[in-house]
Amino acid sequence: MGITDDVTLPTEEELTVQEVNLSGPALKAGAFHLGKACEFENNEFILCRNELKDPRACINEGKATTNCALNFFRQVKKTCADEFMQYVNCLDKSSPDQKFLPCRKTQGVFDKCVKDNLGMERPPYDYFARVHVHKTARPRPPVEGPAVYEDATPGLPEDTPRPEAKYGSRYIFMW
């Protein structure tokens, strides 16, 4: 209930693309390089989502995001599969919540492989928690002004005389 027939929903075919079929530790292992490689697509998608606040309006941006992530992981699989899986395994089994700290060695190996093969530097540890400026060609969404009601009380005209208060101010607090 709540979704009427007037609401346009994309069809199943429009929404079906190949998803990134990876588990949590693998995503965590590739997170930093993925975020750097797909920075533009990710920012576009999140900008769209936050500006329009409607999942239906950002399907294409979302598809671009997923496509970029897929391409990144394909590249990693082509070049650094062993190093990546070693790192994933370490992240998965060293701690209950995939901490990075116990896996610095495997991380270093993976980073070096990615840098040698894909030419990608691992971004600083707080890179994605910083504020970034995103240059985009997206049109700015219309700004919704304050609501105007027809039956609102008309305000005083500008030239109303404003004399001094007749009996001064109330000097007792809250009375």
Binding site: G2, V7, P55, Y125
Partner: protein
């Protein structure tokens, strides 16, 4: 008591009693009071510095985890959005077919009465999870509602 024991008066020892030992013997002091206070402050300062270093490291670790989560968030959100919209369509189709022979029923409304009268008809009103899971199995719903023991 036999009578052959001679009476003997108890007397002080020859040369008199020793003087009463009332002189105070303080415990041996290794540190003066100022040194103790200074030591306390110094150790506290040192410990505070170590604590600061530790806090910084912990913060950095948390920040790194958060940063990694934020890096994959757009991809996960995109996937979630697509699945969400698919499920909304499934729910709407299910409701239409379920209520097909109920007279006066209009999908998404209560017999033609919408949730918001002033909202444009194409507004996507995100359903509550109770509504979202209404056509699914109770097990799925209970997992979503954190009612399941192991999920």
């Amino acid at each position: 008591m036999s009578s052959d024991i001679k009476f003997q008066q108890d007397m002080p020892p020859a040369g008199g009693y020793k003087p009463i030992d009332y002189k105070r013997v303080p415990a041996k002091t290794f540190f003066s009071g100022w040194a103790l206070i200074g030591g306390y402050l110094g150790m506290t300062a040192g410990a505070a510095y170590l604590y600061y270093l530790n806090c910084k490291a912990v913060r950095a670790r948390e920040l790194e985890m958060r940063s990694a989560s934020l890096a994959i968030y757009p991809m996960l959100l995109a996937e979630r959005d697509r699945e969400y919209l698919k499920q909304l369509r499934r729910n709407r189709d299910e409701e239409s077919s379920l209520m097909a022979n109920v007279e006066g029923w209009k999908t998404g409304t209560w017999y033609g009465e919408p949730i918001y009268h002033t909202a444009p008809p194409n507004t996507l009103i995100n359903p509550k999870y109770v509504e979202y899971y209404v056509h699914s199995s109770f097990k799925d719903f209970s997992e979503r509602a954190n009612m399941a023991w192991l999920s």
